[in-house]
């Protein structure tokens, strides 16, 4: 059984690597097939033809596409994505800073989403059928339908324009360097309140809705009635029987959500001008910085796969029966 389990995990990882490889190949071909020459953007017309040709060669664009592809794949195995056209640095070192920000930012956001979603769902369930429950359910549907960019703009309008409380963009103030440690933390905090709300609000609504519905569905099943008849207290039943069952489908959603968040919260980052993966990817796409585009895509796909795998493992931790699903 144990051996089967590890074997299944290995198989899963192998197929994920295949998927990732296909993804990178797909994007590589797409980028190379696109009309237009990326080196044109970085060449000034005053440059002498020999020098221009040198730049062109330094981009590796003079070779045929299949040769470019093979050298790209060969480099990939050593963790080298090439040199970013725009930043003139290795792609890995460009991505590093942006990825660190995204990792911290989206981890905090996911924790907020899960915690608040759980807390609200629990509160609503406790007040089942009452006014609070109904208003929470209704507002979760509404909040879920509101696009992130409208949430962000409404928040900016209320808190930055009208009340003048919070900054509209960036992650630190101009006078950041003069501050001591605690003031710096505070500065980050003030800058990230609005983006955090923008990013989290839809997720809170989703988790709330799922949990709330699951609570009702499971509470109506006969084993709960049986437990009630056995004299267990409501609290015990909720904690040990309803909750573990209700949380399960949530974990895979959280896994997908986290993977998407690690790829960068595109809209939120654009509105608030945050230095995250989403905005890096978009700016790389717009400036035709091909090595960076492929690097970002690779990282995004990798994160997606890792977080899904982690979600599956956590799910197995909750319910051992799921090992069977994984193996077959």
């Amino acid at each position: 059984m144990k051996k089967d389990f590890y074997w299944a995990i290995l198989k899963r990882i192998a197929s994920s690597i295949l998927v990732l490889f296909l993804l990178v190949t797909f994007i590589f071909l797409l980028v190379r097939l696109a009309p237009g020459d990326p080196s044109q953007k970085y060449l000034s017309p005053q440059l002498s033809p020999e020098l221009a040709n040198k730049v062109y060669q330094s981009f590796g664009l003079d070779k045929p596409v299949y040769q470019q592809y093979f050298s790209f794949i060969a480099n990939l195995f050593t963790g080298d994505f090439g040199i970013s056209y725009n930043y003139r640095q290795p792609v890995v070192s460009v991505i590093k800073d942006y990825f660190l920000f995204t990792l911290i930012f989206s981890s905090i956001s996911l924790i907020i989403q899960l915690a608040l979603g759980y807390y609200l769902a629990k509160t609503a369930y406790r007040n089942e059928g009452k006014f609070l429950d109904r208003i929470l359910s209704a507002s979760s549907i509404i909040v879920f339908s509101v696009p992130a960019f409208i949430v962000g703009l409404i928040l900016i309008y209320i808190f930055s324009v009208q009340l003048d409380l919070l900054p509209t963009s960036g992650i630190k103030s101009d006078y950041y360097d003069d501050l001591n440690f605690f003031e710096r933390v505070q500065d980050y905090f003030i800058h990230l309140i609005l983006p955090m709300i923008t990013l989290s609000v839809a997720g809170i609504a989703v988790f709330f809705k799922y949990l709330r519905d699951n609570f009702t569905v499971i509470a109506n099943q006969s084993f709960i009635t049986n437990l009630k008849a056995g004299g267990f207290s409501e609290k015990e039943i909720f904690r040990y029987h309803i909750l573990p069952n209700a949380v399960q489908p949530l974990i895979s959603i959280a896994g997908i959500e986290f993977g998407i968040l690690l790829g960068g919260a595109l809209i939120t980052e654009v509105i608030f001008a945050l230095p995250g993966m989403g905005r890096l990817t978009i700016s790389a796409i717009f400036s035709r910085d091909f090595p960076l585009v492929i690097g970002c895509a690779f990282i995004t796909g990798l994160m997606m796969i890792i977080s899904n795998l982690i979600a599956d493992l956590v799910k197995i931790k909750f319910d051992k029966r799921l090992i069977k699903d994984l193996i077959t």
Partner: protein, 426 residues
């Protein structure tokens, strides 16, 4: 009282209201098209030059605004189909469809119409502006074609209009003086349209205000609904087609092909599709057709999954085997035997897909990648309004709220439909 109103009552009431409110414009249009057909049947040449997109657009709306209520009231089956109760989402979806079809009749001007920006820019909702009209200089000719041309020019709104001048304030004695944001201009009275020997000064109401170029926000919202719906329906159709066809091929051939298709589906699902969409649109250029195709291609996975799982269970059913044995062609098999069975879960998925696509389109327009520059779209309105957030809230909030209500009512409709089919869903 309210729950006795049915959907078809509401549709007829709305179209009737439009006819009453825009009666003058409809009469104008009728005269234009009467004259047009007169010239057409008289066999005059270069009639083609009159046929432009707004011309056809107006004609279709004009026909439909009379045909629509009559057709609904006339047929019992239509009444029966549209006899469910009104609710919030129904009302809004009907209003969307009405503004989609009747956009040229509902609005009073071209969506790109702008004039005298210094006076009309960034006006708050419900503000009105005075205007004066220059009189026609050359109305000597009375050749039929020129008459038609003049009529079309004067009646059907265009993106420019030389005759109208928006003003802040005015005074007149021998000459007419008017101010446009502090700049004084003088004009001869003879050049103006007059009323009782005084220059005619009209007021124009901007119901939802104007944007930074002095364009009417209401008009742009109504026309923006067209973009959202065209892109939404088009993309949903593309993904429907793709998903069903791929699932059918996979279920018919099976084996290795199925595994490959499933892998590809996983590949697409593993990657946040917004990046792929942005990548393709940024590299290959974005116009309305490419947006539809790319959004359609990015949404076929969920449909494929639903359709292929249904088709596998269908393959063992006896009636399906019989149909295969009789020797029905593949296409016929798909349309006659497969589609009717899987259509119900597919439609629920498609409705949610529609709201996803509308959201994606506005997000793309917000990023500057949609159809924005050519046509007015809600996302691009929000994007351009963002710069003026400190002074004009309506540029963001009005398109934003419209978008939210649209998404909400489509989601609600999908949920209701799903509930009807499968009552166990909460």
């Amino acid at each position: 009282m309210l729950n006795k109103i049915k959907i078809w009552h509401f549709i007829v009431a709305v179209t009737g209201l439009i006819i009453i409110l825009r009666f003058g414009y409809i009469i104008d249009l009728l005269t234009v098209y009467y004259l047009f057909f007169q010239t057409l049947f008289a066999g005059k040449e270069n009639i083609n030059s009159f046929i432009t997109f707004p011309f056809i657009d107006n004609f279709i709306s004009l026909c439909l605004i009379f045909l629509f209520p009559i057709a609904i009231m006339g047929s019992t089956s239509a009444k029966k189909k549209l006899s469910s109760q009104l609710n919030f989402s129904n009302i809004f979806i009907i209003l969307l469809l009405v503004s989609f079809v009747f956009a040229p009749i509902i609005t009073k001007q071209h969506p790109d119409f702008q004039k005298n920006i210094s006076v009309t820019k960034l006006l708050p909702p419900f503000s009105s502006v005075n205007y004066i009209l220059l009189n026609e200089i050359n109305k000597v000719e009375s050749v039929q074609e020129n008459k038609l041309k003049d009529l079309i020019d004067s009646k059907i709104p265009k993106s420019y209009n030389d005759k109208i001048i928006f003003i802040d304030s005015s005074s007149f004695d021998a000459t007419f003086k008017y101010y446009q944001s502090g700049v004084l201009s003088v004009i001869d009275i003879n050049k103006l349209v007059t009323e009782n020997d005084k220059p005619f000064i009209g007021t124009k109401l901007f119901v939802l205000g104007t944007d930074e170029f002095g364009r009417d926000v209401f008009t742009r919202i109504v026309y923006g609904c067209r973009i959202s719906l065209i892109v939404g329906l088009g993309a949903v159709f593309v993904s429907f087609f793709l998903g069903i066809i791929l699932a059918f091929i996979a279920s018919q051939i099976g084996g290795l092909l199925r595994i490959i298709f499933n892998r590809i589906t996983d590949l697409f699902l593993a990657f946040p599709s917004i990046f792929l969409v942005v990548l393709i649109l940024a590299l290959f250029g974005s116009n309305i057709l490419s947006v539809i195709i790319v959004l359609g291609f990015s949404g076929w996975m969920s449909l494929y999954k639903i359709a292929s799982s249904e088709m596998i269970s269908l393959k063992q059913k006896e009636y399906f085997l019989t149909a295969e044995q009789i020797g029905l062609k593949k296409l016929r098999l798909l349309i006659r035997e497969v589609l009717p069975v899987i259509i119900v879960p597919v439609i629920v998925n498609l409705i949610f897909q529609l709201s996803n696509v509308i959201l994606a389109e506005s997000a793309l327009s917000y990023l500057g990648l949609g159809t924005g520059s050519e046509y007015s779209s809600w996302g691009s309105m929000i994007e351009s309004g963002q710069e003026y957030i400190t002074q004009s809230w309506w540029l963001i909030f009005i398109p934003g709220i419209t978008l939210i209500i649209t998404l909400l009512s489509i989601n609600e409709a999908g949920r209701k439909f799903g509930q009807k089919i499968n009552p166990t869903i909460g």
